[in-house]
């Protein structure tokens, strides 16, 4: 990838409130008895890529839709670009771009006609419209395809055209709701290059995803689970959650049984399958490497590799989600 990861560590100073692009406080959305988003608060710094991560149905889209003014919150408040989403939705709308997984293009219109429409809706005219149209076509790599129906474009192209259409008016804040869903890996990479490019120009990008590799590329990640924000921080900060554990990758003959046996050990925190191998996080007890090996040998499981690894974000999230489940189940029992 073209982007460099070193820029991720740039926000370590303290910020005043006007250095935040998005501030949410106690944001809640209920649909009948179902609480889709449960009292979440977070801040997104100007110019950063903020990743909103969580499983399907966790409340990611509901949150983003509230911030864009598509849904009104049941309670709580939020400001976007310094404007209250409930009181000044018009001011918010002028400052944001929004693109969802559905790539809302008119399939029966050409590339150029789609750009004309969205540019017009955002009030672009004359030379600015021409400049931005040229820019969007260049950016999406659609030069020479201006007269092609958007219906005939492949997924990656449509996605980039949709992105272009949603930022024709050069909004300082961009909301992307699972923008890479259903797109091939190469297009996904290209798309993230575009996101970094925008971020480098000072655009704040708020993106939801359930791809871990995409989350690693964000400056800040918020993990949302069952409507609650259970962790937030930079990828490095989040990984500190696992400091008291060691994570091992194990390759062996019978991983399912092996995980089962390891889970019965007091020093095991979690096990989770990763492809043909599995990860086991353990408490930092002495010689834990040997303990794993012995446990498995006793059960006649042949191990070809046991290796201590740096935990990935996925390890962190599995850990955090398990903790959250324990907490809410525990609560339920005590009630």
């Amino acid at each position: 990838m073209i982007f460099s990861k070193n820029r991720i560590q740039k926000h370590e100073t303290t910020y005043s409130s006007d250095s935040y692009a998005v501030i949410a406080e106690g944001l809640t959305k209920r649909f009948g008895h179902f609480t889709a988003v449960d009292n979440i608060s977070f801040k997104v710094k100007k110019g950063e890529v903020f990743g909103f991560l969580g499983p399907n149905g966790a409340g990611k889209s509901t949150t983003i839709r509230m911030l864009c003014g598509l849904l009104s919150p049941t309670s709580g408040q939020a400001t976007v670009g310094g404007y209250d989403i409930a009181k000044e939705p018009e001011a918010v709308k002028e400052r944001i771009g929004y693109m969802s997984q559905r790539f809302s293009l008119y399939e029966d219109l050409t590339v150029e006609q789609n750009i004309d429409f969205y540019g017009g809706v955002y009030g672009l005219e004359g030379q600015r419209m021409e400049d931005r149209k040229y820019w969007a076509i260049e950016m999406a790599g659609l030069k020479g395809k201006e007269k092609t129906l958007s219906h005939a474009l492949s997924g990656g192209w449509r996605q980039r055209l949709a992105l272009g259409c949603s930022i024709l008016h050069e909004p300082p804040i961009l909301f992307l709701d699972e923008p890479t869903g259903g797109v091939d890996p190469v297009s996904r990479r290209n798309f993230w290059d575009l996101i970094y490019d925008l971020s480098n120009r000072g655009v704040t990008v708020f993106v939801t995803t359930h791809y871990m590799d995409e989350a690693e590329h964000c400056n800040t990640i918020g993990l949302i689970y069952s409507g609650k924000l259970i962790a937030a921080g930079s990828p490095t900060e989040l990984k500190h959650n696992l400091d008291k554990y060691s994570v091992f990758e194990v390759v062996c003959t019978n991983p399912v049984d092996a995980m089962e046996h390891l889970r019965q050990q007091v020093w095991t925190a979690e096990t989770s399958i990763f492809g043909s191998a599995f990860h086991v996080s353990t408490l930092n007890v002495p010689e834990v490497h040997m303990k794993i090996q012995k446990t498995l040998e006793k059960e006649n499981i042949v191990t070809s590799r046991i290796q201590k690894i740096i935990p990935s974000l996925e390890d962190v999230f599995i850990h955090l989600i398990a903790e959250e489940d324990e907490r809410s189940n525990g609560k339920a029992i005590h009630l």
Binding site: C68, G69, L70, S72, E90, K93, E94, I96, Y98, S100, R102, S104, L105, Y106, E107, D108, L109, Q113, D116, F117, Y118, G119, G120, V121, Y122, G123, C165, S166
Partner: protein, 377 residues
């Protein structure tokens, strides 16, 4: 205040209509087709009724009497029966619509100055046609009776009989009593109702289904701009369709606008806006194009066809149904259209109807704007 940003939506809407030939076909071809169908096929004039005669007497007088039926264009001579038993076959097989039976004592009775009776058997399966046929037969028989009476008066040596009442009919507005003249104005209302309600409903629901509505909703476009942008293209097309119907009506059925074209355009615009408002309103209630289409048809096409007075006269309906017709905008529009096109009367004759149409348009647009604003939130 900043001027409304409507043009991009109107332009996009026209580009989509241009791309989707089906919409254009529905909006322009269907009105023309309906005009042909209704103008030529839907005909209430009962002419050339197939008639058979069973003349038991076969005298000069009875032949003279039956001739009276066939010199008019209302009846066609089909068959002379030889026995009464043939009647069933003729009517059952729909070879004839009516049978005229003349008794064997017909001329003798008349000569003696007695009254005689003619039996007529009519196929009543189509009740309205049967009633009309009976009316024609009755008037021919009455005419003949009068002739017989005045002849016998003269024979008795009296002076010529004069009737106490001289019937002098003058039929206004549609002197030839052509059904097409009555139907074409109704057809305009019918077609406009369909094009406006169905096309706007579909154009909004399609965007909701595709997700493009969401994309518009995050933009600074105001609900009023969206509503205008969505309706203006269909107003233009519907007006175009109206002009087309009027031109075709003139060429094919010789129907010219007797009244003011300006007034006609004005009430048509009220009616259009009401229909578009209703379309928008429906589109805020349903989620899928399929359902939208069904609801739009049920709400616009059926009542307008059956209850507006387009085909069936409202005053012949049961009172409760007559009450229902008052909520149909087409009812008022039809009165205005017939007033302007056929009668050529001025605003004083239909101002009340025009006001109802105006109020209806305002109400529909207001309700749909409120609903729109709600779903845009």
């Amino acid at each position: 205040m900043k001027s409304l940003n409507v043009f991009p939506i109107v332009r996009k809407e026209f580009r989509q209509i241009k791309r989707d030939k089906r919409i254009l076909g529905v909006l322009l071809f269907i009105p023309a087709l309906m005009l042909f169908m209704f103008g030529y096929a839907l005909n209430f004039d009962v002419k050339h009724t197939r008639l058979a005669v069973y003349d038991e007497e076969k005298s000069r007088t009875s032949r003279e009497f039956t001739q009276l039926f066939f010199i008019s264009e209302y009846f066609d001579y089909i068959y002379t029966l030889q026995s009464k038993s043939e009647i069933n076959n003729l009517l059952d097989g729909e070879h004839v619509r009516a049978v005229l039976i003349i008794p064997s004592t017909f001329s003798k009775d008349l000569q003696k100055g007695n009254s005689t009776s003619i039996q007529v058997i009519v196929d009543g399966a189509n009740s309205s046609t049967a009633a009309t046929v009976l009316g024609y037969i009755n008037s021919i028989i009455q005419q003949y009776s009068l002739k017989v009476m005045s002849q016998s008066f003269m024979r008795l040596g009296r002076q010529q009989l004069t009737l106490p009442i001289d019937f002098q009919p003058r039929i206004w507005y549609n002197p030839e009593l052509k059904s097409a003249k009555f139907l074409v104005p109704g057809l305009i209302a019918f077609i406009l109702m369909i094009t406006t309600v169905i096309s706007t409903t579909l154009s909004v629901v399609r965007e909701r289904e595709l997700g493009t509505m969401e994309q518009i909703m995050v933009s600074p476009i105001k609900p009023i701009e969206l509503i205008l942008g969505k309706t203006i293209p269909y107003i233009i097309i519907s007006l175009f369709a109206t002009v087309m119907i009027l031109v075709l009506g003139y060429i094919l059925f010789d129907i010219s606008i007797k009244g003011s074209v300006l007034l006609l355009s004005l009430v048509t615009l009220f009616f259009l806006v009401g229909g578009l408002g209703m379309g928008l309103f429906i589109s805020t209630l349903v989620e899928t194009q399929q359902l939208a289409f069904m609801v739009a048809i049920i709400v616009s096409m059926l009542p307008t066809f059956v209850l507006s007075g387009f085909v069936f006269p409202i005053r012949n309906m049961p009172l409760i149904i007559q009450g229902v017709t008052y909520i149909l905008p087409a009812r008022y529009f039809l009165v205005t259209l017939r007033s302007i096109i056929l009668k050529g009367v001025g605003l004083s004759a239909f101002w009340d109807q025009a006001i109802v149409l105006f109020v209806y348009a305002v109400i529909m647009i207001s309700i749909s704007s409120i609903r729109m604003r709600k779903i845009l939130k």
